[in-house]
């Protein structure tokens, strides 16, 4: 078997490996990338979101999530739940319809594609004849009405998708009774809207794009009412009682139409342009919600004055004299209003409005005064400001957890305290075994704290570092809410704000000590902030220190950005993490590595120039070390950040080419065997020069003179045997891009004299790896070959104290090799040459603890390694034996690979889009995945049944008898209904029975589109395979 290719064939070990390791992609956190459709089931209380890549996601109560993927990867245009059933229909942009079902299997529900269908016209007809524009699932659950571009409406049966040709509503028949002068205007261009009458399922309202609206009787197959609109139609909406409906139009107007038996061709009751009189944009969707107090809620999308506010993405809510135009940060995809779910109720009494914008989900509480937003428990927009780094902390102590939550709750006071209104389904997943925090750093200088314990990634607290600095934009003078007299009454909602005031504020490294509550945050302009958790708001001066990393190096000129200016005097901070020290590296290059030792009260940071150690107890810089190679010009050019201009990188490329041409001595220095980023840039330049030369790669050994060799990649604190084997001491280890490891022995005064004596540091060792590959990780293993515990871990009795008897070992992980050395004499013990053997390079490395799923008391530490090919390898400690490997991320997905973080218990996260984290698990024991169940609709949809059919008292026709009896089980109900129909001996009913039977036959032998047992992750894998021709690997699904 492939996965055990390089391992021994010890059957015991193989069995153990199966108990320890298992790869699963479990859940996607965050906001779906490029959403394109929204659906809602008022009976199931489930919301569905479709995306441009063909994914559909269903959300209910927190923890209730489902994901599905259309094989075609086409944009989802529309999603409609079948009333009262665990089914939904999706329309893709290839004009195909797909039926999805939530099926229960072994106690949980699964989302599966059941059936697919493409509407085809007679041979030779134009494609637009069958291009679907509107889908109406009828409340009978038996048919779908499909409006098309040609103006014809097709009726297909569910779930077989058989076209009922006799019931097709052609535009000709609709026009039969329309006045001639009106029909000459070709009003039946395109079907814009089909809505079922709220009280009479036999009547549907059909709106055509040119303005004609007809009320169609399904039974008699003819139009009963004609509404001759003069404006181009956008949408229609029935009022609850069915006596009136609203139409909205392209010119920004809406009209209210009466429906009565007296007038078959009425005039609108009211026609209004809410943001007139100047030309307005279209109102694309409207809701008219009646309330007990008589004043309706009129909610519509768009309609803004074209000239001045035409670029706004707005939804207006009008309720009596209150009117607010909610102004969204990105395009509105769709919205719905949650109202009284009981269809028999007299009033809608809307409670919330759910708006899907392109970049975020906004829910507005319509009951609370002022209509505040509701804090969503999921679908968080991770990318409010672009994510620049992430940091995961497992097993947060309860005390710290509560303090962070309380700090966060003070920030969320402007949110409504309404319970989350979308609450369908039941979450069956066990409570998360521990509290995990995921911290994301953002481009705008904020750090967000996410509850990553369970399926719902939930924002706990947001920390901004901006206050410490003087920036161009004063945070206090940001846009004030518009005054009352402003028209239109716009109100900004949502948090998506991708524009950063100052790119230097970007967060690059985060380190949180969960025991002490110390937080270190480092950024793009060499700034390092040390923070402490304070439950009260406070105003204080932030101490300032500068670390000159160039030291005595002369003749360098930093050409990058300036350092950030710190604010003078005391600064007021909110409750939460409050900075007390600012260390700024000079030159202000991006901080590339950070380490914090909360027990010794030391923080170390590194840039492309060197690294420094700061004593935050005495607020004193202990030492700095310049790692810059004298010939390294690039390191001085400026920040190595993604905002670097193309012009600049091209200029650099050309300079490098020129340099390599000019002097042959320098030639060996000018190579591309270095950071991949620089590589790409070089290629860019080289390509321009060589025009159509094929893609080629230069083979050159690394040299000490390569660029960015001094770039500090990793910093690590360890209490170990650095100088001799008898005495251990604190030490700081630093690894560079050029394969150099520096080790400093530290003397930290005992606690009682901690403030009096200085911390001393002395360089004890310098190791130059001959292969000169960048060092991505340093780790010290104790006498039992276990990694040294984190600071304070032992003090809090959460870890065994390290074995200081046996000899310690040093593990150095470079991009190319893993190497174990003895300590204190650094001699090579063993190594694993990944690159030489496989051509892959290490991108991320972490130690993880794997527990066995069979025996509770067995666990072991292994290295988890992510390579540039997107593979994850598990490597044993301390013998560096490859245990298993899994393909995880596409190798083309550079940002996905760069964003990956591992947890301490064998899980991980990586960005699959700017706004979504994929969560994966390598462990059999720690698995966070959605487990939920959606109750069968018999119970929840009873009311709905009564709505559509339960109008016995209003004198319904005979076929409703059957429907009203359907309270027992679906199948029973169906057969029962058929029996009754048969007894009725009605011709129409007989026909229907026939069609049902045919449909049933079709149903009995459905086309297996998906094998039923396929899980979510295998489906994603299939997709990948399809897209990128990746071979199926057995290692994937265990």
């Amino acid at each position: 078997m492939r996965r055990f290719l390089r391992s021994g064939h010890d059957p015991v070990r193989e069995r153990l490996k199966r108990d320890l390791f298992q790869f699963n992609k479990t859940v996607e956190h965050g906001f779906p990338h490029q959403p394109s459709a929204l659906g809602y089931s008022s009976s199931l209380h489930l919301m569905a979101i479709g995306t441009r890549s063909g994914a559909i996601k269903l959300y209910g109560a927190p923890g209730v999530e489902f994901m599905g993927l259309h094989e075609e990867n086409n944009t989802v245009l529309q999603m409609h739940f079948i009333p009262g059933q665990c089914q939904l229909v999706t329309l893709l942009d290839d004009n195909s319809l797909h039926l999805w079902s939530l099926k229960q299997r072994s106690g949980t529900s699964e989302l599966q594609e059941e059936q697919r269908f493409t509407l085809r016209g007679p041979p030779g007809s134009s494609p637009s004849a069958t291009q679907i524009t509107v889908v109406l699932p009828h409340s009978s659950r038996e048919v779908l009405y499909l409006g098309t571009e040609s103006g014809n409406i097709f009726v297909v049966e569910l779930p077989s998708f058989r076209v009922l040709e006799k019931r097709t509503i052609s535009s000709e028949t609709v026009l039969q009774r329309v006045p001639e002068d009106y029909s000459n205007r070709r009003p039946c261009e395109l079907v814009e809207a089909i809505q079922e009458h709220p009280r009479n399922p036999d009547q549907i309202l059909i709106g055509y794009s040119r303005g004609l609206i007809v009320l169609w009787d399904v039974q008699s197959n003819k139009a009963t009412h004609h509404f001759l609109g003069s404006q181009q139609l956008e949408n229609v909406f029935w009022q609850r009682d069915g006596r009136q409906f609203i139409s909205c139009h392209y010119d920004g107007s809406y009209a209210q139409w009466p429906v009565s038996n007296d007038n078959r061709q009425p005039e609108p009751l009211e026609s209004k342009v809410p943001y007139g009189p100047f030309p307005c944009k279209a109102i694309s969707k409207i809701y008219w919600q009646v309330t007990k107090n008589g004043l309706p809620y009129i909610i519509f999308q768009g309609g803004m004055p074209r000239a001045s506010y035409g670029d706004r993405h707005s939804i207006s809510v009008i309720h009596g004299s209150q009117q607010i135009a909610f102004d969204f940060t990105s395009r509105v995809i769709d919205f719905f209003v949650i109202s009284n779910a009981d269809p028999a109720a007299e009033f809608d009494d809307p409670s919330a409005m759910v708006v899907l914008a392109e970049e975020e989900l906004v829910v507005i509480d319509l009951k609370a005064p002022g209509w505040p937003a509701v804090h969503p428990p999921y679908l968080a927009s991770l990318h409010c400001s672009a994510i620049t780094c992430s940091h995961h902390v497992s097993n947060i102590p309860l005390k710290l957890w509560e303090r962070i939550i309380s700090a966060g709750s003070k920030q969320n006071s402007h949110y409504s305290n309404m319970l989350w209104p979308i609450d369908g389904g039941t979450n069956l997943a066990p409570d998360p075994p521990q509290r995990d925090l995921l911290l994301t750093g953002h481009e705008d200088g904020t750090v967000r704290f996410w509850d990553a314990s369970g399926v719902c990634l939930h924002l706990l607290y947001k920390l901004s570092t901006v206050r410490v600095f003087l920036t161009d934009v004063d945070p206090n003078d940001n846009m004030n809410p518009l005054g009352e007299d402003e028209w239109p009454p716009l109100r900004k909602v949502g948090s998506f704000d991708p524009y950063s005031d100052d790119p230097r504020l970007g967060i690059q490294k985060i380190y949180l000590c969960k025991y002490s509550g110390y937080l270190a945050v480092a950024g793009t302009a060499g700034q390092v902030l040390l923070m402490e958790l304070n439950d009260e708001a406070a105003e204080h001066v932030v101490d300032y220190a500068e670390a000159d990393l160039l030291q005595d190096q002369e003749g360098y000129r930093w050409k990058g950005h300036e350092r950030l200016k710190a604010r003078d005097g005391p600064v007021r901070f909110e409750p939460g993490f409050q900075p007390f020290i600012l260390v700024q590296c000079q030159p202000p290059a991006v901080v590339t590595s950070l380490a914090l030792h909360s027990e010794w009260k030391l923080v170390a940071c590194g840039t492309s120039h060197g690294f420094g150690l700061f004593d935050h107890q005495q607020k004193r810089l202990v030492f700095v070390k310049c790692t810059l190679h004298p010939s390294d010009q690039l390191a001085l050019e400026g920040p190595l950040s993604r905002v670097k201009s193309l012009k600049k990188s091209l200029r650099q490329s050309f300079r490098r080419i020129r340099r390599s041409r000019v002097s042959s001595r320098k030639r060996r220095a000018g190579n591309i065997a270095e950071v991949q980023e620089a590589n790409a840039k070089f290629d860019q330049g080289a390509l321009q020069e060589m025009e159509l030369a094929p893609v080629q790669r230069k083979i050159e050994a690394r040299s000490a003179e390569d660029s960015f060799t001094g770039f500090v990649r990793t910093l690590y604190f360890a209490d170990t045997f650095l100088r001799d084997s008898s005495r251990h001491c604190p030490s700081l280890w630093a690894g560079t891009n050029g394969g150099t490891v520096y080790a400093f022995s530290l003397r930290v005064p005992p606690a009682e004299r901690r403030m009096d004596e200085p911390v001393r540091a002395e360089q004890a060792k310098e190791i130059q790896l001959m292969h000169r590959a960048p060092i991505v990780g340093i780790l010290v293993l104790d006498g039992r070959s276990a990694p040294l515990p984190e600071p304070l871990e032992v003090a809090h009795d959460l870890s065994k104290s390290p074995d200081m008897q046996g000899s310690h070992q040093l593990l150095v992980v470079s991009e190319e090799q893993l190497k174990v050395f003895t300590l204190p004499k650094v001699s090579s013990k063993l190594k694993l040459k990944l690159t030489a053997l496989e051509g892959c390079r290490v991108r991320k490395m972490a130690v993880a603890n794997f527990g066995s799923c069979q025996t509770d008391d067995y666990s072991e530490n292994n290295l988890t390694v992510l390579t540039n090919l997107g593979d994850i390898q598990i490597i044993s400690l301390p013998f560096l034996k490859l245990q298993t490997r899994y393909p995880c991320i596409r190798k083309e997905d550079v940002s996905g690979i760069a964003s990956c973080v591992f947890t301490k218990y064998g899980q991980g996260f990586y960005l699959i889009s700017p706004s979504e984290f994929e969560r994966f698990s390598l462990s059999t024991k720690w698995l966070v995945e959605p487990r939920c169940i959606i109750d069968a609709p018999e119970i929840t949809s009873n009311n709905h049944l009564h709505n559509t059919s339960g109008m016995e008292h209003t004198g319904r026709k005979s076929r409703d008898l059957g429907r009203s009896s359907g309270d027992t089980g679906e199948d029973e109900r169906k057969s029962g209904r058929l029996m009754e129909h048969a007894l009725l001996n009605d011709e129409k009913v007989l026909k229907e029975i026939q069609s049902t039977l045919e449909g049933g036959r079709g149903r009995g032998d459905p086309i297996p589109i998906y094998q039923r047992s396929r899980t979510l992750s295998t489906r994603i894998q299939e997709l990948y395979r399809k897209k990128f021709g990746k071979k199926s690997r057995r290692t994937w699904a265990k």
């Binding site: 042959s664 094929p694 790669r697 083979i699 050994a701 090579s828 030489a836 051509g839 390079r841 540039n868």
Partner: protein, 384 residues
């Protein structure tokens, strides 16, 4: 002389480990013996020869006559060992002054040819244009070698590039391409990796063993089939200190024809230290320069302390490379290494080693392993 004769007799008996050496310098002969299986180091042998001939201050070249009568040089541990072990029964050693040395004499059948047409040759020599003064192999550094000729198909070539200690860049580029393979279904196009460009003056070009459009099949024994250009690039760079690439040359005319391969004794060596197919056997090429001895191993440099950078290389699993990073190739270092190898506790204190070294330097014969019979010099026994 009776005694000496007897000695000689015992030495010549096949089960004896001693090899009789007859050393000729000008018209003078000296005789002594060496252990056939443990002849010691070339350096020490060299000192011994100078000592015996009383020409300590002269630079000389040492040659020997092998079984075929070829005059071959002795200038490193390996050919010294070869010379001693192949001596049958007598090892005839010829010593020439460095400045008088006729390098042209080395090679196949030089001795026998000389005997046959001595006069003619001499005239010939006079007519030939003056010799280029080519220095000895130890003044050269290997830049490349063709290895594993015996196990590879004739259409393939396994090239080893030595980069260490070399100032030249490796200097070549690779690209994606397609090659045609013969399969059961006929010819089939498969993706492959090819050399696309040579950097002028680079190591790859200067070897003459690699050329543009050669298909790369393996990198250090690992097949590149199925790997991307970037993967192969990374593999080559990771192995750049000792890069072994198996290529299918675009030009198939210069291939080594296996049948005409010369016998091992006449100097053609195959270096297969890093080959994954055969056991490391001969290390002939590794003795040219200590820096070149890193077979598959690279030595990291560890600097202790922060003050005076003092290079203390660590002891590796492969002992031959342990001290190779030290720039000097002086005798004392070599002896130090020998001591370390022979006596693992010898490394414990540097001071001790230096004491031993200083005492040893004067007489290099200490480290030569001398058979119990002692050393003979034309009847005059040198007792050590």
């Amino acid at each position: 002389m009776n005694r000496s004769f007897n000695k000689s007799q015992t030495l010549r008996s096949p089960d004896c480990s001693a090899v009789e050496v007859k050393s000729k310098f000008g018209a003078e002969f000296r005789r002594f013996s060496l252990d056939r299986y443990k002849p010691g180091k070339f350096e020490d042998f060299y000192k011994l020869v100078l000592h015996i001939h009383h020409i300590s201050s002269t630079e000389v070249m040492i040659g020997y006559a092998d079984v075929h009568g070829d005059l071959l040089p002795i200038n490193n541990d390996d050919n010294f060992f070869k010379a001693v072990s192949s001596a049958n029964p007598l090892l005839r050693v010829f010593i020439q002054r460095q400045d008088e040395a006729d390098y042209g004499n080395f090679g196949t059948n030089t001795l026998s040819r000389k005997k046959k047409a001595l006069v003619a040759l001499r005239n010939d020599n006079l007519r030939r244009r003056p010799h280029l003064n080519i220095s000895m192999p130890h003044d050269f550094r290997p830049v490349s070698s063709i290895i594993d000729v015996d196990i590879l198909p004739e259409t393939h070539r396994r090239v080893r590039l030595y980069r260490h200690g070399c100032e030249k860049p490796l200097g070549f580029y690779i690209r994606d391409g397609t090659s045609v393979r013969v399969t059961p279904h006929g010819l089939e196009k498969v993706p492959g990796i090819f050399i696309s460009r040579m950097v002028p003056g680079g190591l790859a070009e200067s070897t003459g063993l690699l050329a543009v459009n050669d298909e790369v099949l393996e990198v250090n024994g690992i097949e590149v089939a199925g790997k991307t250009l970037d993967q192969v690039t990374d593999m080559m760079i990771a192995n750049s200190h000792n890069l072994i690439i198996t290529v299918k040359p675009a030009n198939q005319r210069n291939n080594i024809i296996r049948s005409s391969r010369m016998s091992g004794s006449s100097g053609q060596s195959t270096d297969s230290t890093a080959s994954h197919h055969s056991l490391p056997s001969s290390h002939v090429l590794q003795n040219f320069h200590p820096d070149e001895m890193e077979s598959d191993e690279e030595a990291d440099i560890v600097i202790e302390g922060g003050l005076e950078p003092q290079h203390i290389p660590k002891l590796h699993s492969l002992p031959s490379s342990s001290l190779s990073r030290i720039n000097g190739s002086s005798l004392s270092h070599r002896l130090q290494r020998d001591l370390v190898l022979n006596n693992s506790s010898g490394r414990e204190s540097n001071g001790n080693i230096h004491k031993i070294l200083s005492s040893l330097k004067t007489d290099p014969r200490h480290s030569l392993v001398i058979p119990r019979g002692g050393i003979e010099e034309d009847g005059t026994v040198i007792t050590l």
